[in-house]
């Protein structure tokens, strides 16, 4: 019976090919929109988590203040002694690096470039997942004495040196000249969208003495040996710092320890919510497409009243007429779904390229959208089909 209904439906669709195609346009667009949104959203989520992974794994960031933004500036900063305390008193730590960031303009010959100087130790490279493309790290003597030496990120290197080899050359930062001793390997964008390679790394003392003019440390990066120990290390750092900063039992922390997993969860959570939101908006358009199908199917039933009369006179059962129109609606909407899937594949690949997010083909969303389009055919085809089946054969035959 389904086979017959399918045959009759296909013949009816073929008879009205242009209108059939226009009927399903809404579903085509709806399905394409849902799949494209979700595919791009998944790509964006992936690229965010990739970028977070590039920040370094098993990483803890210790910042003064409870949260970023206003108020953070009032909280007392850290000192190098805090860094040393963490290094010596807490187990399961792979690397601890103090960080001081300062905005500067770097100059080399006629070129200059506004960028950030990060004052830190060699541990920074391990903790932040950086590797040197060439040159060397800082020597102990350079770090102790606060020598004017620096390691350039690839963006700074391009802006100041273009094709030239910077190793051994000098750049000017504020009023002092600084020798380039190393180059960092390119990392790309950060999860927040900033360019991680737009950086100049110097020894902490160099920055403190010549740029920031204070002994403050803005940020401590701690990398942990294994992911399992991250929570324990976090708790130990918190209690150690509470003690060192003399925070009473009833007082809140005036610093904050965040791990990359937490940052990753926050950021990918945001993109995931956005993906769902966009997907939901697209799903509404799919629903509108379904209403379009119902509209055309109703028109079609009225227009084909005589045809239905003929079928009934010939001996078609009510349920056979019903099934034919239902199958017609489902075949149409599934066809729309298939076209939508193809369209979505093209749109996703194109847009993913343009937005620089990876194209992640998701079989599940394609399947879901397809099944959904089929369900739309059933739901919105039901009423017109029922109407067709209930027609009185004599009146239907008399219909002009």
């Amino acid at each position: 019976m389904i086979g017959n209904a399918l045959l009759l439906s296909m013949r009816a669709i073929r008879r009205n090919l242009l209108r059939s195609m226009l009927t399903v346009l809404g579903v085509v667009i709806g399905v394409a929109a849902v799949i494209t949104m979700v595919t791009l959203g998944n790509g964006a989520t992936r690229s965010v988590s990739d970028q977070i992974a590039s920040m370094g794994s098993n990483l803890l960031m210790v910042r003064p203040g409870q949260r970023m933004g206003p108020g953070a500036a009032d909280a007392p900063k850290f000192r190098i002694a805090d860094v040393e305390a963490i290094r010596t008193q807490i187990a399961s730590i792979a690397a601890v690096a103090p960080v001081v960031n300062t905005a500067v303009t770097a100059v080399h010959q006629a070129r200059n470039w506004a960028t950030t100087v990060t004052g830190t130790s060699n541990d920074y490279f391990a903790a932040g997942n950086w590797t040197l493309a060439s040159g060397r790290e800082f020597t102990d003597a350079e770090q102790r004495a606060g020598k004017a030496v620096c390691i350039l990120g690839s963006t700074v290197r391009e802006k100041l040196f273009e094709a030239e080899n910077p190793l051994g050359s000098e750049i000017r930062v504020k009023q002092f000249a600084c020798e380039v001793i190393g180059l960092l390997r390119t990392k790309g964008q950060s999860a927040m969208g900033s360019d991680q390679d737009d950086v100049i790394v110097m020894p902490l003392r160099t920055v403190q003495r010549r740029l920031s003019g204070s002994l403050d440390v803005n940020l401590i990066m701690v990398s942990v040996t294994t992911p399992e120990s991250i929570d324990a290390v976090k708790a130990q750092i918190e209690s150690l710092l509470r003690e060192r900063r003399r925070i009473g039992d009833s007082e809140d922390d005036n610093f904050r320890v965040m791990d990359t997993r937490q940052i990753a969860e926050t950021l990918t959570g945001t993109t995931r919510v956005l993906t769902m939101l966009l997907g939901a908006v697209a799903a509404v358009s799919l629903l509108v497409g379904g209403i379009g199908i119902m509209n055309i199917m109703l028109v079609s039933v009225t227009e084909r009243t005589r045809e239905i009369g003929i079928r009934l006179a010939i001996g078609a059962l009510e349920r056979e007429v019903m099934l034919q129109f239902l199958v017609e609606a489902v075949v149409l909407s599934c066809l729309g779904g298939l076209i939508g899937i193809v369209l979505a594949a093209v749109a996703s690949v194109t847009l993913a390229g343009a937005m620089q997010v990876p194209f992640l083909f998701s079989p599940s969303i394609n399947l879901i959208a397809f099944l959904f389009s089929g369900a739309i055919g059933v739901i919105f085809g039901y009423f017109p089909a029922l109407r067709a089946a209930r027609l009185d054969p004599i009146e239907a035959l008399r219909h002009e």
């Binding site: 013949r11 008879r15 003929i310 006179a313 001996g315 054969p393």
Partner: protein
């Protein structure tokens, strides 16, 4: 003339359209028996209830009162689906307006009743071709109604009606839309089907020339059978 159970038997049949003040009494007690193999013409003035009785005999409509026995089975108590199955298996319709599916080839139109009967595709195709050949349209299988003349369309409709091998062919003014010459051709075809295949034919017409093809003429006037007579055997 035939002692066996009549194919069609109407007993005190009434049909009242509508309700209350707006109601119309279209059939006022019809008694009629038609045996297998007969060729009956139904005549009468417009509005006398000819189409109404054809619709009831064709199981498209139900009587308001009285009994309708098809091969001895009471039809008036049957469900809509049971009547549909009766039409599917025993009854072929030919209408004044042809009633073919538009933009559908002659072959597919003729195939249609076989699809509902669930015949496999190859068998269906062969039977539809044979029916088209029977009505003389061998070379018109792939033409749509728009590409066929009125006479040809009515031939396709007849092919569709006989493709299932029905017991009875119900034709309500089958030549009403056709010119005299084409009408005669259609009547020759229907007569041949009756004579050679033994299909019972019940045909409404108001043209005496067409009624002359039948062997029995039933006259309706104002919802009643006014006369029912057998024609002289054709020589």
């Amino acid at each position: 003339m035939n002692e066996s159970t009549p194919l069609i038997r109407l007993i005190g049949l009434h049909k009242i359209y509508g309700r209350g003040g707006a109601s119309y009494h279209a059939l006022k007690g019809i008694d009629l028996s038609i045996h297998e193999g007969e060729f009956v013409a139904v005549m009468g003035p417009s509005g006398s209830g000819k189409s109404t009785v054809m619709n009831i005999i064709g199981c498209l409509d139900t009587p308001s009162d009285g009994q309708y026995l098809f091969r001895g089975m009471p039809v008036e108590t049957m469900s809509r689906d049971q009547r549909a199955l009766l039409r599917r298996h025993f009854i072929g319709f030919v209408f004044q307006g042809f009633n073919l599916l538009p933009r559908t080839t002659a072959l597919e139109n003729v195939e249609l009743p076989l699809i509902y009967r669930g015949h496999p595709a190859a068998e269906r195709r062969a039977a539809a071709r044979a029916a088209l050949r029977r009505v003389g349209l061998d070379n018109w299988e792939h033409h749509t109604p728009a590409e066929l003349s009125g006479g040809q369309q009515q031939r396709v409709a007849i092919a569709r009606a006989i493709v299932t091998g029905p017991k009875v062919l119900l034709a309500d003014e089958p030549t009403g839309n056709l010119d005299t010459r084409t009408s005669a051709e259609i009547m020759d075809l229907i007569t041949a089907l009756n004579r050679e295949h033994g299909i019972t034919v019940l045909m409404v017409t108001h043209e005496p020339e067409m009624a002359r093809y039948a062997r029995r003429i039933v006259r309706f006037v104002d919802g009643r059978v006014e006369s029912d007579r057998y024609a002289e055997p054709a020589s």
